[in-house]
Point group: C2
Chain length 193, copies 2
Amino acid sequence: MTSAAEELKARILAEGKNLGDGILKIDSILNHQLDTQLMMACGEEFARRFASYGVTRILTAEVSGIAPAMAAGYAMKVPVVYARKTKPVTMYGPIFLETAPSHTKGMEVNLMVSAEFMPAGERVLIIDDFLASGKTLKSLVRIVREAQCTLVGIGCVVEKTFEAGREILSKYDIPIETIAQIVSMDDGQIVLA
Amino acid sequence: MTSAAEELKARILAEGKNLGDGILKIDSILNHQLDTQLMMACGEEFARRFASYGVTRILTAEVSGIAPAMAAGYAMKVPVVYARKTKPVTMYGPIFLETAPSHTKGMEVNLMVSAEFMPAGERVLIIDDFLASGKTLKSLVRIVREAQCTLVGIGCVVEKTFEAGREILSKYDIPIETIAQIVSMDDGQIVLA
C-alpha cells in the first residue's frame, strides 16, 4: 500500500464521522477543509495508477471534485475541467448538460460542461471525491461520450464498496481506481478494507 | 515580473473574452477549465509574496477560489478551508455565516464556514480568483474576524483595478497581492497593467 493510501486511511479512521444513512463526514480532509499535502499525494497516486493510459484531460464535478482533480491534473501535467452545477454568466456557447441526483444535497443537480473544453478525441480520466452510488460519475461518463472523447478510467479518493457505484460503472469496461475503500458503515462504524 | 505573472498575463490576453459590464471570461484558465501547471505556479507566487507572514491557514470561497487556494496552500504547506455556498448534509455544528452578492450569479449567496475549521488564533490568508468589487472578500474577512483569527493578507489571481475592491479592503490595513491587474475593459478591450 502506498503512503498516500496509508495516510488517507489513517485520517479517515481518526477524523471521519459516520452520520448514518451511509453518509461519511470527512470534511476535515477534502470536502470543506483541504489537507493540501495529502490531496497532492493522492493526485500523484492517481498519476501513478493511470500512467500508461495516455490521459490528455481530467473531468470532474464541482465542488468537492476540484481539489483531487487539480492534484491529479498537476501530477499528470494535463488540464482539468470541472462540470458546473449552476451556469455562471461567463458560460456561453454550446454546452453538454446532464443531471444527477445529489446524495448530500437531496435534489437533482445539473452538470454542465462547455463544449469548447471537451473537444472530440481527448482521452479523458474522470476524477471525483467519492465513488458511492455512481450516479454523478455516470453523468460525467455520458458527457465524455457525448463529446466524442475516449473515457480511459475513473479515479476516486474514497470508495464505499457497500454501494452500487462500482457495479453500475463496470459496464464501461474501464479501470476504476480508488485510494481508500470503506466496506461497512453499519452500526455507526467506519470499517476500511 | 515573475514567470507566473508573465504567463498569466499572456494567457489572459490570448484567451480572455470581455463580455461587457466588466465581466471577464477566463474560464479556460481558472473558472471552468483549470490550467493546472499555471495554477500551481500562481500558488508558488502567493507563497513567495506572503512568505514572511506566518500564515497557518488559507480561507477561500467555493467554487472558483478552490484551485488557486489549493495551489497556494500546497506551496505554503498549510490547510485550505473553502466557504460553502450551500449547506451539505455533512456540515453540522456551529458555523460562521455571511452573505455576499454574486457578480456572476446575480443574487445574494451565503458563505458558510464550520467553526471547527476556523479555530481562534489562526493566522489566515484569504485567497480568491478575482479582486473586483471586493464584496465576497469582505464577507470572508468578516468570517476571519468573527472566528477571532488574525487576517494577515489577501491574494487574488486577477485584479480589476477599475472596480472598488482594493479601496474597500484598504481599511483592513493588510497586504493585498494580485498576480495580474486589468486596468480597463472599456470598448470591448482587455488592458493589462
